[in-house]
Structure formats: structure tokens, C-alpha cells
Symmetry: C2
Subunit: 330 residues, 2 copies
């Protein structure tokens, strides 16, 4: 097992442990560790594990812990809560990964990272939209085994895209859509009026109306109590035949099963990066629908996002040890 | 065999024959035939053929002929040249499909269509770029057979795209790239100064330098005597590892074999819609390279292009019969 440790001789400094990491994050993360020089020594375990005992063992003696790719159960928290003072979570939506109330009661700080993936997610939404419009991946697969069978595409210029959610990612998507010469409809609970004006977007208050007027619909909502189950069959039924539907946000903003039912009618197509259960079950009906393009929750996984995410992790930990505030989630 | 004929009773009108058509063009084309009302009757053969005798037979009595998907050999021209007065070609690059000098000597007009596919081609170039950057098609193929294996992507924001060719398609591509927040380098024999300024592009006079400075290179040159073989190994060798290379223009602007050799080194990836020989040979080495995404010359095949192309065909024929000039190529 390979362990990377910065400043190992500085046992006077508090210890930060990264008990699990994904390969792609290793290089960007080590590139940010200068932010912790003379603040904390960092120990990174490069061999992945999701085993609870192993994770707890690796966290031994740590004051700071980076959470990447695993959940901190309440039981795990009991086992490490006596020495860990700060958990830095490598993502947004930390509430699904650790008990925020329990950590607060123990006086443990939990940090998340924000907006790190806005560009990466918007660009992935475009990639899904392009595959739905032009079928490059499907034709490429056929070309690699011989033959010469082309498919017609859908044009995007002058089409209308409906953006559900108009925060950091939605606005990024809007700028790209403007470059294509598309018309923008936007729905958001609290609209950024300046962004609406700058991007020449048209606000639509009724979600069903937005669905009906759009040639492409792309979701860019965070998962919040307000947005969970926001989209129901009622709205999905108003999508016109031929609509391209893209979800890189969260599956839970749609009522369970509603999208699959709508897609099974076969008259619209969808590009989906997020699912009610992840990993997606091998026998999920979405896997076999011909009008669906699937990716395994990778929208944020591009180098710009890794760079921003890992930098924020180091900044959060440095702030904790210096008694400053940064990205505190609990 | 199904034959569609407009105004069949108007035998006083000259006959236009469409001896071969692709399915996707049928509906857009019939939608434009009002332009020929009281000008010419139109007979469309909907069953495809590339057989020379059948094509000649179908052209019998025609004053106007639409060329879609077949070549008019000099021998075929001899057989129909006594009655055909105008060939309207459904594409650009008509010189590869009929002898322009021989038709001019016979006093036969040849028309082509222009700029019909600018948007469609630029959007397909984006689709190829997105597949190279985000691998949606590859992940989707894997997801459809089970599993959950993600791949990291390349971010596009702040990257530099080098556009070789800055006419209608190149400028369309530039606008889309600006929407992504990319930097633009452009090379063209005659630069449209206003477009360079509007799109905040940086002209680069040396093609090798443009290749070296770009994270993405996309070709948007027409095939002309000046551009044939313009790009050689010398320039391709200056592409940096990790570069995404896209060609939706013409394979012949690159010296034969030079791109395949460069790609076989494996350190760059390419999205290609055009090939030296089309259809691409089943045993072409490009078919098996893992760093290449292939589509079968479909970049122009989107509905906006079909609409513009078929409209121009009807406009060309109407102009011919009315003694006006429109899209004359010879």
C-alpha cells in the first residue's frame, strides 16, 4: 500500500488524513498542499477502500479528515469523533454523506466545496445534448466494427432550450446555448434578474409551460426540500414529441418513476447522468431504452473541477486549523 | 415503385426529374415545390438507385434534373444531354459529380447550393469535440450493457481552439466556442477582419504555430486547389499531447496518410467525419484506433440543412425556367 505524507517529520503539526481518494484527484490535490505547509501534515492513502474498519484505522490520530467517495455513518462518527475536529467533504450535498446535526453537537466542523463543478457540469450537459442531437457515439461504435451507416441529426440553432434552475450551472449552460444561437426560457424559484437580462433569457413561471414551449429541457436545480419531487408526470406529459431532455442535476428533483414512464412512451429522448439509485441497478429499465443516453454520474469529473475542488479542500482545512471560516456546512 | 408527381396534368410545363433521393430529403423537398408551381412539373422517384441505365431511363424527357447521391459520368451526359437543360446538384463541390466544362460546352446549366449546411456542420464539429472531451457515447454504450464505469473529462472553458478556415462554418464554430468561454485562434488565407474583431479572435499566420498553440484544432476549409494537401506531417507533429483534432471539412486538405500516422502515435485524439476514400474501407487503420471518433460524413445531415438545401434546389430550377440566374456553378 502506498501512502503519501507531507512534512512527516513535523509531528508537532496536526495530522490530516485522506483515507480514500480517486486516482484523478491525487495529482490536483497534492498540487494544493502547499496551502497546508506549516499548518498541518497530510497523509494520503492511495489504495481505495470503502471498508469501514479500514477507514477508521486509517483515520487514527487525525484532526482533519477528507471525505472522498465514502459515507461517514453515525457508527463511524462514534469511533473517530473523539479526535477528529474537521471533516472536509470533497463535493456539494455533504448532508447525504455525514450527519450534520450529530457533528455540530460534538463540535466537529464539516466543510463542503462550492461551485467547483459549474463549468464541468454545464459542459457535460452539452455533451449529453449533442449525443441526443447528433448520435456521434452511436455512429462511432458502429464505424469501429466496419460499415458506413449515417443518421440524421437535429439542428440546435434557433431552437428553444428551457433551463430549470438558473444558478451557477444554469447560467453557464445559458451562455453556451446563446453561442449556439438558441432561445432561452428559464425557470427558477428566485431569478437573478441581471443574469436574465444579460443572457436575453425569458422567464417562465409555470414549469409545465416551460416544458411545452421547449425543444430541449435541461435541469440545473440543486436538491433541496423545495426541489425534491418538484417535477411530476403532469409536467413531463407536456414535453412535445422530439424533445431532448437532459438531467445532470439530481434524479430526486423528479418524482420517482415519472421520467422512466415518460421515456417508455418513446417519443422524446433523454440524456441522464443522475439516477434515483446509484450505481444504477443492472436491471433498471433505463438501461435498455433506445431513446436514452446514460452516463454514470460523471458530469463534474473534468480537470477544471478537480482543480477547484481539491484547492477548496486544502483551503477549508487550512482555515480550520487557523481558526478561520471557510466553506463551513454545519 | 413509388413516384411522386406534381401537376401531372400540366404536360405543357417542362418536366423536372429527381431520379434518386434520400428519405430524409423527401419531405423537406416536397415542402418547397410550390416554388415551381406553374413553372415546371416535378417527378420524384422514391426508390433509390445508383444504376446508370435506370437513372438515364428515369431522366427521360426531363428538362431539369436534380442530382442527389449519384455521379453524372461523361457517358451518362452523352445519353441525356440532348434534352436536359439544367442539372441542379444537391450539395456543394459539384465539380466532383459532373463535368463542368463538358456541360458548359453543351450549353447545359449546372447549379449547386451554398452555405446550406453551415450551422449543421459547425454543430456536428461540436458534437465530435464533446465526444472527445467527455466520452458520453462510450460511457453510454457501456451503461446499456450494465455496469457503472465513469471516465474523466477534459474541460473546455478557457481552452484555446484553433480554427483552420474562417468562412461561414468557421465563424459559426467560433461563436459556439465563445459561448464555452474558449479563446480563439484563426487561420485563413483571406481573413474577414470584421468577423475576427466581432468574435475576439486572434489571427495566426503560420499553420504550425496555430497547431502548437491550440488545445483543440478544428478544420473548416473548403477543398480548393490552394487547400488540397495544405496540412502535412510537419504541422501535425506540432500538435501537443492531449490535443483534440476535429475534421468535418474534407480529408483531402490533409496530405494522404499524414493524419493516420500522427494518430497512431496515440498522444492526441481526433473526431473525423471525412475520409480520403468514402465509404471508409472496412480495413482502414482508423477504424481500430482507440483515440479516434468516427462518423460517416454526416456533419451536414441535420434538418436545418435539408430545409435550406431543398429550398435552394427548387429556387435554382425555378430561376432556370424563368431565365434568371441563381446558384450557377458552370
Amino acid at each position: 500500500m502506498r501512502i503519501i505524507e507531507t512534512q512527516p517529520e513535523r509531528t508537532d503539526l496536526p495530522l490530516v488524513v485522506v483515507p480514500n481518494i480517486v486516482d484523478a484527484m491525487l495529482e490536483p490535490f497534492t498540487g494544493t498542499l502547499d496551502l497546508l505547509r506549516d499548518v498541518a501534515r497530510v497523509r494520503i492513502y492511495t489504495e481505495p477502500t470503502l471498508d469501514e474498519d479500514t477507514l477508521v484505522e486509517r483515520m487514527e490520530g487525525a484532526k482533519g479528515v477528507v471525505i472522498i467517495g465514502f459515507h461517514v455513518s453515525d457508527a463511524m462518527l462514534d469511533r473517530v469523533g473523539d479526535h477528529v475536529g474537521c471533516f472536509a467533504f470533497g463535493g456539494t450535498g455533504v448532508a447525504s454523506y455525514i450527519n450534520l446535526i450529530a457533528t455540530r453537537e460534538r463540535g466537529i466542523r464539516v466543510c463542503n466545496v462550492v461551485h467547483y463543478g459549474d463549468g464541468a457540469v454545464a459542459e457535460h450537459a452539452v455533451a449529453l445534448m449533442m449525443e441526443l442531437a447528433r448520435h456521434v457515439g452511436r455512429m462511432d461504435a458502429a464505424m469501429h466494427v466496419g460499415g458506413w451507416h449515417g443518421e440524421d441529426g437535429v439542428s440546435l440553432e434557433d431552437k428553444t432550450i428551457g433551463l430549470v434552475g438558473f444558478g451557477g450551472i444554469g447560467q453557464r449552460m445559458a451562455r453556451i446555448a446563446r453561442g449556439f444561437g438558441m432561445q432561452l426560457l428559464v425557470w427558477n424559484s428566485h431569478l437573478d434578474v441581471q443574469a436574465v437580462r444579460d443572457l436575453e433569457a425569458t422567464p417562465v413561471n409555470d414549469l409545465g409551460e416551460l416544458f411545452e414551449r421547449s425543444d430541449i429541457v435541461s435541469l440545473h436545480l440543486p436538491l433541496l426540500p423545495d426541489t425534491a419531487g418538484l417535477i411530476a408526470s403532469e409536467q413531463l406529459n407536456r414535453l412535445r414529441p422530439g424533445t431532448l431532455f437532459v438531467n445532470t442535476a439530481r434524479a430526486e428533483v423528479i418524482q420517482p418513476g415519472a421520467l422512466t414512464s415518460r421515456l417508455q412512451r418513446g417519443d422524446i429522448s433523454a440524456g441522464l447522468d443522475v439516477f434515483d439509485t446509484e450505481p444504477l441497478a443492472d436491471d433498471d429499465p433505463l438501461r435498455t431504452l433506445p431513446n436514452v443516453v446514460l452516463t454514470p454520474h460523471v458530469a463534474w469529473r473534468a480537470e477544471a473541477a478537480y482543480a477547484s475542488l481539491t484547492r477548496q479542500l486544502s483551503q477549508s482545512l487550512a482555515a480550520y486549523f487557523k481558526g478561520e471560516s471557510f466553506n463551513i456546512a454545519n
